[in-house]
């Protein structure tokens, strides 16, 4: 009796042990190491809070976080605004038999290398690129516009990627939505716009929020796109982290900046989780 009781208690632990071990080895321990590193001086290795105080007292460091948040917010909002109608068209207007193909075409950009895609955008947006040639060719602008090496270029590169991600999460949400909700709304006299605003949109908000959170996390932690497309005309947090490692091998300062970035992502996650909880309640 006691043996079988022990077994029944041991089984769940045995099942979750691999996952726990994985998390311990590849998240908890590295995180502790990073935390300890962030509290040591680059030279000498003594305990210090200087790496954190550098961030809060140096305007150019603080500015990197502001840039990151601004770029991430702009990218997330634009991506949602573009992805929602796209997902709607896919889910509601494309015949069922074509939906799989349409989805595959929609995610095609994911199949190419992230770096290659970013450099491609650089060529498209360059002074002699496709857009500027077209604009000057049809006489809309006399001189080429500065599109590459700007925040606009960074946002464009990000949006191209994240619209696809958001489309997937919103599409999945729309497909799960029972048609009876809309029929019921119509029976009660609601027109298409009212049905969308008061029934469909609120019910697809979880899909939007999940996609938006993924966009936020991936965007705020990305180094490649701002580095290639932004022209280093402003720094975001991942670039600042890379500078500390690549130039001076300053792992303690890089660790402190990474933990601060992680704290911001955690706050975003908690806000998102809390909102989803409220919605479910």
């Amino acid at each position: 009796m006691s043996v079988s009781g022990g077994n029944s208690r041991a089984l769940p632990w045995a099942l979750v042990t691999p996952a726990l071990a994985w998390t311990l080895l590849f998240f908890v321990l590295p995180f502790i190491a990073m935390g300890l590193s962030s509290l040591t001086a680059h030279e000498g290795g003594r305990f210090t809070l200087a790496n954190y105080s550098q961030f809060f007292t140096d305007a150019s460091y603080w500015r990197a976080m502001v840039n990151s948040l601004e770029v991430t917010t702009i990218v997330t909002v634009i991506s949602i605004l573009l992805a929602y109608p796209f997902a709607w068209i896919l889910a509601e207007m494309v015949p069922e038999r074509w939906q799989r193909l349409a989805l595959m075409l929609a995610v095609l950009p994911f199949w190419t290398s992230y770096v290659v895609r970013s450099y491609s955008w650089l060529l498209v947006l360059a002074q002699n690129g496709v857009i500027n040639r077209a604009l000057t060719g049809i006489g809309l602008t006399a001189e080429p516009l500065q599109l590459a090496n700007t925040r606009l270029a960074t946002v464009t590169g990000f949006v191209h990627f994240f619209v696809m991600l958001l489309t997937l999460t919103i599409f999945a949400n729309l497909k799960q939505l029972s048609p009876s909700y809309r029929k019921a709304a119509a029976d009660l006299g609601a027109g298409p716009v009212r049905t969308f605003l008061h029934v469909v949109l609120p019910l697809t908000l979880p899909g939007i929020m999940v996609g938006a959170f993924l966009t936020f996390v991936l965007c705020i932690g990305d180094y490649i796109t701002p580095q290639i497309l932004g022209g280093n005309n402003e720094l975001v947090m991942p670039q600042l982290v890379m500078m500390q490692i690549g130039r001076r091998g300053d792992f303690p300062l890089a660790s402190a900046l990474s933990i601060i970035l992680m704290a911001v992502v955690t706050i975003a996650y908690l806000a998102c989780a809390r909102w989803l909880k409220i919605e479910r309640a």
């Binding site: 150019s60 002699n128 500065q146 590459a148 022209g231 280093n232 005309n233 130039r247 001076r248 091998g249």
Partner: protein
């Protein structure tokens, strides 16, 4: 009897045997790898045209790991086991950093062609520590002004003042490496790169901000090259033969100048690790790289071109012309070394660079 008809135990034994054989092969291969040469290098050393002749002549595999910047290189070493690496490419001025960490082995000067090196690039002040030579300069060049001579007046490129004037506003890119560009800012305000102190930082910052105000972008190697090659910009601050020479065939309009204020000399060295398990092969590799043939291949590497440190490098006349080989004595006379700040000043310089990048 066919294999399909064998009993499961026999099949299992057969497959276990095959697995054991495969494991033995892997172990043997692992053993062979221990005798390979492991090199921490910059991208110019990963060119097969450079490595293959050495590998074939010595029946050895050169395993390379690329990095950019001494900080990144030393970080890789710090995360490795002693003996993992045999040789390293390092900025000549940073050789003492490796020596301080106890990483490098003194080089046997009598076995290397020091007499053939351009005297100005031997960099004895940094490659010799406590009377022992720890690094040998293999390649050098200039962080100066790279430009498209069909788009800008070459005469303007003879002065660093043109970088902060209005004439080329928005046509300029800045190479994203703080030390050489800070060195150029120092030259522009009449300071010697070797004498920079903390007191010079405000004036240097003001000069950097003027450069930034004129710049379209601040880019690392690939971004800078791409910007100049595609016509996105016409001038590259910090550029030099390392940008223009490799692109000379595709774009002969690209050139570089050594302004009247001077230019910053970059110089890369080879060092051998003290804990190398393969010091004989490491020395052979350094000897190969420093040989006239190795020097020519390194100088014209597909990643970037640069001047060979060995004046007897087996370059063709055309390659010498592209590198402006015969003009080197004059260039070297006007060039100054990379700033070599101590740790404290280095941190302040990098923070100043960060401020420059963030400036709108």
């Amino acid at each position: 009897m066919t294999i399909n008809a064998r009993n499961p135990l026999s099949t299992l034994k057969s497959r276990l045997g095959a697995a054991c054989a495969a494991t033995a092969l892997l172990i043997a291969a692992g053993g062979a790898q221990a005798a390979d040469l492991n090199a921490l290098i910059w991208c110019d050393h990963s060119d097969p045209a450079l490595l293959q002749p050495f590998e074939e002549a010595n029946n050895v595999k050169v395993n390379v790991k690329e990095f950019e910047g001494t900080g990144a290189g030393l970080a890789i070493v710090a995360q490795s086991q002693p003996g993992d690496w045999d040789v390293m490419v390092i900025d000549s001025i940073d050789v003492p950093r490796g020596v301080e960490k106890g990483l490098f082995e003194p080089l046997p000067e009598e076995k290397l062609p020091f007499a053939d090196l351009f005297p100005e690039v031997k960099m004895d002040k940094s490659t010799i520590v406590d009377g022992k030579r720890y690094g040998i300069t293999e390649k050098f060049g200039y962080n100066t002004i790279g430009f498209n001579k069909t788009k800008v007046d070459p005469a303007d490129m003879e002065s660093l003042a043109s970088l902060t004037g209005d004439k080329y506003k928005g046509k300029i890119a800045i190479y994203d490496y703080y030390l050489p560009v800070i060195g150029m800012a120092a030259l522009a305000i009449g300071k010697k790169t070797a004498d920079l102190t903390e007191a010079d930082l405000p004036a240097l910052k003001a000069e950097l901000l003027k450069m930034k105000a004129n710049a379209k972008l601040v880019g690392e190697v690939t971004a800078s090259q791409t910007a100049l090659a595609t016509g996105e910009v016409d001038i590259l601050v910090g550029g030099g033969e390392w940008v223009t020479a490799g692109l000379a065939k595709e774009n002969p309009a690209l050139d570089f100048s050594i302004p009247k204020e001077g230019a910053v000399l970059w110089s890369q060295s080879l060092a051998m690790f003290k804990d190398s398990k393969n010091k004989d092969m490491a020395l052979k590799f350094i000897q190969y790289i420093m040989s006239p043939e190795g020097q020519a291949r390194l100088a014209t590497s597909s990643c970037y071109w640069g001047m060979p440190a060995n004046s007897k490098a087996a370059l063709t006349d055309e390659q010498k012309k592209i590198l402006r080989f015969d003009e080197q004595p004059g260039f070297l006379a006007r060039a100054q070394a990379y700033p070599a700040p101590n740790a404290n000043l280095d941190k302040k310089m990098q923070d100043m660079w960060t401020e420059m990048l963030q400036a709108q």
